[in-house]
């Protein structure tokens, strides 16, 4: 499965007409981490349209939707762990980087953590 299939979906929509430089986008995209903003900026389209296209790609089984949970420590903010669906709010995740850096807190319940949605290209 390639990003070209995803772009074919876009091509077939009204957005497709304004798409250019597809090959460049394919080359520059990390197929394991596609954020809605990547799609929005590539095509210079409104965020909601980009989000809709990503969800469409999920329905078409081109993309896999992932939920990444972010370390709440202000100077960390990295994705500690990703799940295929929303995680159990009481599950506890450990940010091993904050543990190594001896931060006061490095274990967090999911409900304390912000999440970020990203997409993966299905292989």
């Amino acid at each position: 499965m390639s990003l070209e299939k995803f772009f074919n979906i876009i091509d077939n929509s009204f957005v497709g007409k304004i798409i250019t430089n597809k090959q460049e986008i394919i080359e520059k995209t990390d197929p394991d981490r596609i954020y809605t903003e990547n799609i929005r900026s590539f095509f210079n389209i409104p965020f909601v349209v980009a989000k809709g296209l990503c969800e469409l790609a999920v329905k078409e089984k081109l993309f896999k939707k992932k939920y990444g949970y972010l370390c709440p420590n202000e100077d960390c903010d990295r994705i500690v762990k990703s799940f295929d669906s929303l995680a159990d709010k009481n599950e506890v995740l450990t940010c091993y980087q904050c543990e190594l850096k001896q931060k006061d807190k490095y274990e967090f319940q999911i409900k304390e953590m912000n999440s970020v949605v990203y997409y993966q290209l299905r292989k």
């Binding site: 990444g68 960390c76 903010d77 990295r78 994705i79 500690v80 762990k81 990703s82 091993y96 980087q97 543990e99 190594l100 850096k101 001896q102 006061d104």
Partner: protein
């Protein structure tokens, strides 16, 4: 709060409980029970001897200095005049000093009432001198002091009386008449190990020409594997405080360590499973530095 017994309990808590159990032959599994049994059955001397013998299991901050001393014999039987040296090993090419220094943490204990207190620790410290380097091995006392205080839920820590900085300045002052001392830049040794794929970094801080950049990798990703272009940039820049992951696990029991190569500082902020691991890593860095 600060009886001899309290200090020995806190000292034992600076070590992995597995090493305490093995050394003293304790069968109980729960940490507090193990420590209680050791305190009841063994003397202070036995416990200090354990801390000295098993020192390399502890969490440590390590500072490496280069020196220009002509004769190693110029160093006497102690480096810190106001600290009693617990053990001095005088070998032809290496001198090793082991100390216990006392430090006092000023804290607020928040239980039913707020209580102001001073919490004392007896902290192990090792200094090793050879013909090129002076290496200071400081035991890490957790910032979260509540782990060391009995029956306390929350403790606010306002700092300690003696710390690594104070002892490093003392060392400078003490040896200044014998030689000059400089924190060793470890960039070369670290970059060699990184290039050889012995290590890779999940978190990197480095100097660009007009800024300082950090790269914090998500999940278990590491920088060189994911971003070879950025890695190539870093290889030409001074590296600051960085977390490295060991890629060749057969040679070492640690998963990670922290190094600030520009400041000559290496930190092992988790307990060691193998007592030789720290020396192995430091040896590898210095060998290629």
């Amino acid at each position: 709060m600060n009886t001899k017994k309290n200090l020995l309990i806190r000292l034992l808590k600076l070590f992995p409980i597995k090493s305490v159990k093995e050394h003293f032959g304790i069968k109980t599994s729960k940490r507090d029970f193990v420590i209680d049994e050791v305190i009841e059955k063994y003397s202070e001397d036995n416990i200090l001897k354990f801390a000295c013998e098993k020192f390399d299991y502890s969490k440590q901050h390590i500072y490496i200095y280069s020196h220009n001393l002509k004769k190693l014999s110029d160093f006497g039987a102690s480096i810190f005049p106001d600290l009693e040296c617990y053990q001095f090993l005088n070998e032809p090419k290496i001198k090793s000093y082991f100390y216990f220094y006392e430090t006092t943490y000023s804290v607020l204990i928040l239980n039913d009432q707020i209580q102001r207190a001073e919490v004392n620790f007896k902290v192990p410290l090792k200094v090793v001198v050879d013909d090129k380097y002076i290496i200071l091995y400081f035991t890490i006392v957790e910032k979260n002091i509540s782990t060391y205080i009995e029956n306390s839920n929350r403790v606010l820590n306002f700092g300690k009386s003696t710390d690594e900085k104070i002892l490093s300045v003392k060392l400078y002052n003490e040896v200044s008449s014998l030689c000059s001392l400089n924190l060793l830049d470890l960039n070369k040794g670290i970059k060699y190990l990184w290039e050889s794929n012995f290590i890779d970094a999940p978190y990197v801080k480095w100097k660009r020409s007009k800024s300082t950049s950090t790269e914090t990798m998500d999940e278990e990703y590491t920088l060189k594997e994911q971003y070879p272009d950025i890695y190539n940039q870093i290889m030409n820049a001074p590296i600051k405080k960085t977390i490295f992951k060991f890629l060749i696990k057969s040679e070492i029991s640690y998963n990670h360590f922290i190094v600030d190569p520009t400041e000559g500082k290496i930190s092992f902020t988790t307990f060691a499973e193998n007592i030789k691991d720290k020396e192995y890593v430091i040896g590898k860095i210095l060998q290629h530095n």
